[in-house]
Every structure is written in structure tokens, then in C-alpha cells.
């Protein structure tokens, strides 16, 4: 399974429900794009640091989590400084840094299950319009998470089989049989889900149901 980036804890942000956190983040992040004053942006950045630290994570941990983002930000800041000017570079780095810290604070304090619920609620209107089926969408997300280790497993199995036959295996020699095998397995999983009658298909498109067990056969079983 893939481990979530969320961490357990009991900070105020952990206790806050997922929906207001996400709404707050979206509003703050959008608002920051309309702010150009470096003093305000520096305040936002400091606020981001405070909020991220308030989750109980140490600065070292936060730094480790956001190392990739920080490096990209440094490159962008440098590019801005050389191509535009220092003030723009500072504003961009402070703004994106503040948003990254706030967003990471939400990610750290909200479990995947909580976010899932919000996502399902967001599907609601689209579901009522008949555009989407929340149950089936949720199933697809769950399946995707489950399929990742399955793909890794299959890749290892193919590699081992090829090594046993004395083959080194190019990218193509791995990719093609791997995709074929996981496609076949995904279809088997789908058929198994159908056989269990989940998720309930919506009317009209429902496949013909398998015939029920005949009563006389049922009667024969003790």
C-alpha cells in the first residue's frame, strides 16, 4: 500500500474538520496570488511556518517533506531574479513557499479517509445530475491504490523469470509482458467484483443478472 503523508496528532489543526481546512486553504492560496507587497507575503510565509509547526511536526521533518518543492522554488527564484528582477523573485518565492507550507499543514493533519469523505461530498452535485456515480468513483480510487503493489509484484516476477532464462531484459522486454499481464489481471478483478454484485450499477445500464440458484437445487442441500 502507499503510505499517506498524514501524521497522527492532536493539534488544533488535527481536530478541525477536513472541509473547513480545505476551504480555508483554497481561499488563502487564491488570495495570495493577488498580493504583491513583500511585507504582506513575508507575513504570510511566517504564518505558514507557524501553522505547519503547530501541527507538532518539527522544522526538520517539514523541511524533509518539502525538500523537493524547496529546491524547485530555489531554481524558480533564481530564474526570476536573473530574468525579471529581485523584487519579483522575492514575492514569488515567499508566496509559493507560504502556500506550500499551509497546504502541507493540511495534508499532514488530515487522514486520507477524511479527504475521501470530502471528495465524495464534492461528487454529490455531479451525482445528482447523473454525471458521476460516487460509489463507483470511490471504488476506482481504491482499486488504483491496490493495483500499485500488484504492478510492482508482477514486474519483479517477470524480471526474475527473464533472469532465470539468462535474459537481461530491455525496457520493452519488461513493459510489454507486464502491461499485458496486469491488464488481464485487472479484467479478472473487475469480473470478480461484478460476480459479487458490487458496486450496484445504476438502472438501464445494469448487465443481465446471473440466473438465481434454482429452488430445487437449494432444497436438495441439507
Amino acid at each position: 500500500m502507499i503510505a499517506s503523508l498524514a501524521r497522527p496528532g492532536s493539534s488544533p489543526l488535527h481536530r478541525l474538520a477536513a472541509a473547513p481546512k480545505l476551504a480555508g486553504l483554497a481561499i488563502t492560496a487564491t488570495a495570495l496570488f493577488f498580493v504583491d507587497d513583500p511585507r504582506l507575503l513575508a507575513t504570510a510565509f511566517a504564518l505558514g511556518l507557524t501553522v505547519a509547526r503547530s501541527t507538532g511536526a518539527h522544522f526538520a521533518e517539514i523541511g524533509r517533506d518539502l525538500a523537493g518543492a524547496a529546491m524547485a522554488l530555489a531554481v524558480l527564484g533564481l530564474a526570476d531574479w536573473l530574468l525579471v528582477d529581485g523584487a519579483t523573485a522575492l514575492a514569488v518565492v515567499l508566496r509559493l513557499g507560504a502556500i506550500a507550507l499551509l497546504a502541507h499543514a493540511v495534508t499532514m493533519t488530515t487522514t486520507t479517509a477524511e479527504l475521501f469523505e470530502v471528495l465524495e461530498r464534492l461528487f454529490g452535485p455531479a451525482e445528482r445530475l447523473g454525471l458521476i456515480d460516487a460509489g463507483r468513483a470511490a471504488l476506482t480510487l481504491t482499486l488504483a491504490i491496490r493495483f500499485v503493489p500488484l504492478i510492482v509484484e508482477e514486474a519483479q516476477a517477470i524480471r526474475e523469470a527473464q533472469a532465470a532464462r539468462g535474459l537481461d531484459g530491455s525496457v520493452l522486454a519488461l513493459a510489454v509482458p507486464l502491461l499485458v499481464r496486469v491488464i488481464v489481471r485487472s479484467e479478472a478483478v473487475a469480473d470478480a467484483i461484478d460476480a459479487r454484485g458490487f458496486p450496484p450499477e445504476r438502472a438501464a445500464t445494469a448487465p443481465p443478472r446471473p440466473p438465481a440458484i434454482r429452488p430445487e437445487i437449494e432444497a436438495d442441500t441439507p
Partner: protein
Amino acid sequence: MTTRDLGLVALMAAVIVALGAVPAIPLAAGVPITLQSMGVMLAALILGPRRAAAAVSVVIALVALGLPVLAGGRGGLAVFAGPTAGFLFGWVPAAFVTGFLAMVLEATEKSTLVRTAQLTLAAIVGGIVVLYVCGIPWLAFVVEIGLAKAFMASLPFVPGDLAKAIVAAVVTVKVRQAVAIERK
């Protein structure tokens, strides 16, 4: 969509995630070439427009759910405000256009070489042109460098993306010889 469609959508989403775990080639100090955009091309060429767009939407949803599914273990909401978010959201139209072109262009009776060329073209138009059209304006806006400079900054990625389009097309032709999947 049938349950098999959902399974295929989930599977190709998982393939895109798994490709993110393949070590990236660092380019231009910190901005890596990853194989995930090849995963998007593969999903589109194999599944066709609608299911491919669904598959990349699944990956984007997993990012939003705080799972480290992007290359280098990136994930979480910070990605959506980052400078490359346009390239992430651009996956949806990119996958749709690639899949649509694959569906329209590829005719089964032609030679393998011709089909590979057609699918490569589909992957280039959808997976590179459409994707960059989504990603570059966002990059220019967020970093405040202007469209021209954002375009120049994206150019170093083009050769790698062209190679990915060719590999995705070759793999797709071979995979579709083994399993019959109707594009839709």
C-alpha cells in the same frame, strides 16, 4: 462505464503512479525528467480518450488525497499551487486528445510501422503540444516570468518527451497485439 472499464481506468492510474517510482533523470538542477508523462501517453494510447482522462483524473484525486503518488514521492495539496500544477491538470486534456487521435488515426489493417508512427503522432500532439499549452501559461503566471521565457524554460524537456512518445507508441502496438481493448 462497465466494471471492466473501471478496472482498466484504475489499472492505468496505478501504472502512472508506479512509473513515478522509477528513478528520475535530474535535469536543470532539481527539475527532473520523469516517466509519469509516458504513463499518461500509454494510458491514452491503450484505453482511448474517455477512460484515459478518467485514469489521469484518478491520479490527480490521489494527489489531492495526500498520497505521495507523483514522481519523487510528491503529493498532497501543495502540488496544486506549485509552479508545475498546470502540467498536472493538463494531463486530463492531454490524455483525452491523445486517446481521441489514437482512436481516429490508427486503422488496424495497416503495417506495424505505420501504426506506430500514427500513435507516436497522437502522443506528440496530445502528450506534448496540448500538455505544454496547459502547463506553460500556469508556469508563466505563477512565476511571473512571461509566456516567452516560460516557453524557453520548458524546451529542454521536449527531446525527452519525444522519446517517451515513441516508446509509448511501440509498447502500445505490441500490447494491443496481445490483448484486445477497444478504445473509448
